[in-house]
Symmetry: C2
Subunit: 226 residues, 2 copies
Amino acid sequence: MGEEVKLFGFYLSPFSRRVELALKLKGVPFEYIEEDLANKSALLVQYNPVHKKIPVLLHGGRPVIESLIILEYIDETWDGNHAILPKDPFERALARFWVKFIDDKVLGALWMSFWSDGEMQKNFMEQLKEYLQLLENELKGKKFFGGDTIGIVDIAANFITLWAIVLQEVAEISLINEENHPILCNWIEEFLSSEVVKESLPEKEKLFAYFHANKEIIFATKAPAY
Amino acid sequence: MGEEVKLFGFYLSPFSRRVELALKLKGVPFEYIEEDLANKSALLVQYNPVHKKIPVLLHGGRPVIESLIILEYIDETWDGNHAILPKDPFERALARFWVKFIDDKVLGALWMSFWSDGEMQKNFMEQLKEYLQLLENELKGKKFFGGDTIGIVDIAANFITLWAIVLQEVAEISLINEENHPILCNWIEEFLSSEVVKESLPEKEKLFAYFHANKEIIFATKAPAY
């Protein structure tokens, strides 16, 4: 597959960072194109006319859309030395289950635990507690969700390892901590100590500055810029 | 793969019907177990402790959960003579894109167009119009979303072919019709004329009776029993 690979992303987005990490794990060279989400490029709209969102992976001129779908595409297209999904169908289904759980349940509960208040916040925090416990159990006895190496669940959970930690500092709330989530915290440390992961995450200071500067507007809209 | 296959489902659920259709397309023999969703079995809770929902596919004693994940599992586990996903990675990504679009966008807009009123209903109907047009375009020149045969997008869209049509009659609203969606209507006809599909759908009269009898409670909760 000698065809050109381009990634349309946004510096602070955990979703385009997922794709970036997967490409780097596979050793696929690519050109990164930063999108201005307040003023989306004509190319982005052309390649993703339905959602007009990043990330878009362009491979040989053809667009692949939706971060999790892109991760599967990357795994199916480039063998590399790093498997993103397990080979066994049952293990694949399990990985997909946790990925969907993270996207459908954990991300929303985490986000809203930071950006709501009162009874609503209390409810989201209770949900989140339960979800984090499930992840804690799932990680028991393993280095990564993917086993000995970073897999699709780890990549999908990148939000927890940096964005959530930064939000804890911005909001001065401790939701994920050593005391309640020793296994999850150990996983975060392992994940962040990988060189490829380090190259695929935004700088912590920039993320902090973004959330801090946009506190009010994010609280009002419940949505980040990405 | 001579191991026992069981499907925990609910007669009226489009989600367990997806799995049923996929198993039948593949020619996989299975035992069907109807769940009483008001009084879930201990087995269902044991096999799907996180969501406690149908469908659950049990294969050789191991549970696979979430209808779309089960469809991919079935395709990866049993070759059969019927491919549920395309073989080419780009075509697979495209199919997954439309499946996600149907689940994340179309189903919600369809459902809420029937079960809301006033300004809210108007907004959902406008969204739906746009979504149906996208599906109409995607089907252009094809018999099924999957091409000449029923694929994962067709299976995921089973809701449109029967549940939506029944809801139109219950609510006396015409959202999908020959005039505005000739291609989609032709696809519905093709889909429903397949013998395997017919065996994998609830009886129209029973579905009508369920929605009709539960009109008020569904309107209030915005959720069906399944």
